[in-house]
Symmetry: C2
Subunit: 339 residues, 2 copies
């Protein structure tokens, strides 16, 4: 095995993160389901980050980033751009620390997600829906206020914060032989890989990546090529899994991730239905991607011997509330497919 | 207070039920939500029977009924009719005891619910979708097989079994001042009322009843009239709350239920959305009725002083799996209402 001290994030970074975020984040429960065990042929352990504060794991990295700032730096506030869970997490982390936050969101961000940000006392700054506009608007805010930028995944503090999931999960289920983690920018899987392999070197880390309707699985392609492959943004129902690996996450993914299982849109949807129907918990499509991988034929063929497998249910923010009673009453009718 | 020994079910019946079903049913968790606390102006405690075996509280009454049978009677099996959660619960209880079960279901029962019954090794017997056909088919099965009929709510064993929720809930949250229970045939609320008032006489039991689009709230009408009022079946999205009070449940409801809060279809739908979005758990419309009551203006006006209020999330069997990937992909788009 290569020397993990050369990687940008260490087990010690994650352990420090765990101490820093402990007062602010939930220890999320681990769920099991005999139905899903039967379907997968394993004992599956689901780390329910859907019950995390803000509805996703993102608060771990956001809190680690926000609470690591020295007081005089923190006083100028923080700034982030995101159309999803990271935005709300940074707003919440700043509120917990009692410092200002500015959050830049593309103007096509659903009202419900903008409302979530306002819940934490932050009025979102709207910008054009391009990465350039997001970054330029953030830079302008930084210049005006001296705020610190909180990256969504490509930073040591963010990666180490997300890694606390790995520490917690192995404390809760020491017998885990593998952990399946949905991958996007790679912050969560990098952190979990560093933490879990630091504690238990034999554990396997498996990425779950949506190929998208445009077949754009960059993690699988990069791992296969042995170098970071640039692909277009995936067109996928997994709205939280549309980022690309970064300069810090790629070296960790390259070294510590053992396999990448790509999942189709249909597999994600089927997994989401199954989780909601059998386990009675709400996951967003991105949160179901790991379950789709766990149930896939790739998993069965390539990892026949794994018994105890962990799966991260990373987020549960589904936009139910924008639906009208009429919609629901139609939706709750038995569908033709059922009869 | 009137003498509760005159009621058809006693605290002792419930305590016996608790011992009988303990090996077979889950002790379900109690959930909380700061968002829903703020909206209701109380500390709400949600008894999550959605995580119960079979996805609803019905397994409690079914197990109490099935395991109370003497061996020689049980050997002839059990029979039930139901279009919903009771059918699956009786099939599962019989499987647990290792005896035959026959379940009569109206032929318009969704395939998904028929499939749930098959999961427990029972092939549903289809009949015409009328109460007369259901009862006649059951009677024929009984004649042929000598099976014992397991009533969905109007029996001492069923009521006492459902009452174990009340015992468990007060052990988990002794500070409860009231419990809100969705009402239909009245088995669950009767059992909970007997148990909870038996242990803590000051506790208030509040029924949550859907008025339906045809304004058919029979529990509210009967309580107001002081006698059992016959009304048509409510036309409601709460498919699990369409039964009517029975000869055993009405006297208990009359004596021990302190108030009936009627909820509209819109309130049920809004509550269901809120639970799924904020608490990340799946409830069926019937399971959301208690939450709708907890958030209602009636509750606020008539019970201003209540602090700790329990709410039963009685079932989580929503028919997600009959939906196609196409449906979900459309559904998961941000709706026009959100922008």
């Amino acid at each position: 095995m290569a020397d993990s001290t050369a990687l940008p994030v260490s087990l010690q970074d994650v352990e420090e993160a765990a101490g820093r975020v402990a007062p602010w984040v939930h220890t999320t429960p681990v769920l099991t389901s005999s139905t899903l065990d039967e379907l997968s042929g394993r004992r599956l352990h689901f780390k329910a980050e859907i019950f995390q504060r803000g509805g996703s794991f993102k608060i771990r990295g956001a809190c680690n980033s926000v609470f690591a700032l020295p007081d005089d730096v923190a006083a100028h506030g923080v700034v982030a751009h995101s159309s999803g869970n990271h935005a709300a997490a940074v707003a919440l982390a700043a509120k917990l620390r009692g410092i200002p936050a500015q959050v830049v969101v593309p103007k096509d961000t659903p009202a419900i997600k903008q409302a979530a940000i306002r819940t934490y006392g932050v009025e979102p700054i709207l910008c054009e829906p391009t990465m350039e506009a997001r970054e330029a608007t953030c830079a302008a805010v930084q210049q005006q206020t001296g705020a610190t930028f909180v990256p969504p995944f490509n930073s040591v503090l963010t990666i180490a914060g997300q890694g606390t999931i790995g520490l917690e999960f192995l404390q809760q289920v020491p017998e885990l032989e593998a952990i399946i983690v949905p991958v996007s920018g790679g912050g969560m899987i990098s952190g979990i890989a560093v933490a879990a392999k630091g504690i238990k070197p034999s554990i396997r880390i498996i990425a779950a990546e949506p190929a998208g309707r445009n077949d754009a699985a960059d993690v699988a392609a990069s791992k296969a090529a042995g170098q970071l492959v640039q692909l277009p943004k995936p067109a996928t129902i997994c709205d939280g899994l549309q980022a690309r690996l970064g300069s810090l996450t790629w070296p960790i993914v390259q070294r510590l991730v053992d396999d990448v299982v790509t999942v189709s849109e249909e597999e994600v949807v089927a997994a989401m239905q199954l989780i909601m129907e059998r386990m009675k918990v709400v996951v967003e499509p991105s949160g179901a991607a790991g379950v789709a991988a766990a149930l896939s034929s790739q998993m069965r063929e390539r990892h026949p011997g794994l018994g105890h497998v962990g799966v991260i249910l990373c987020g549960g923010n589904v936009d139910f509330c924008s639906r009208t009673p009429d919609f629901w009453q139609r939706w709750l009718q038995p569908s033709p497919a059922a009869s």
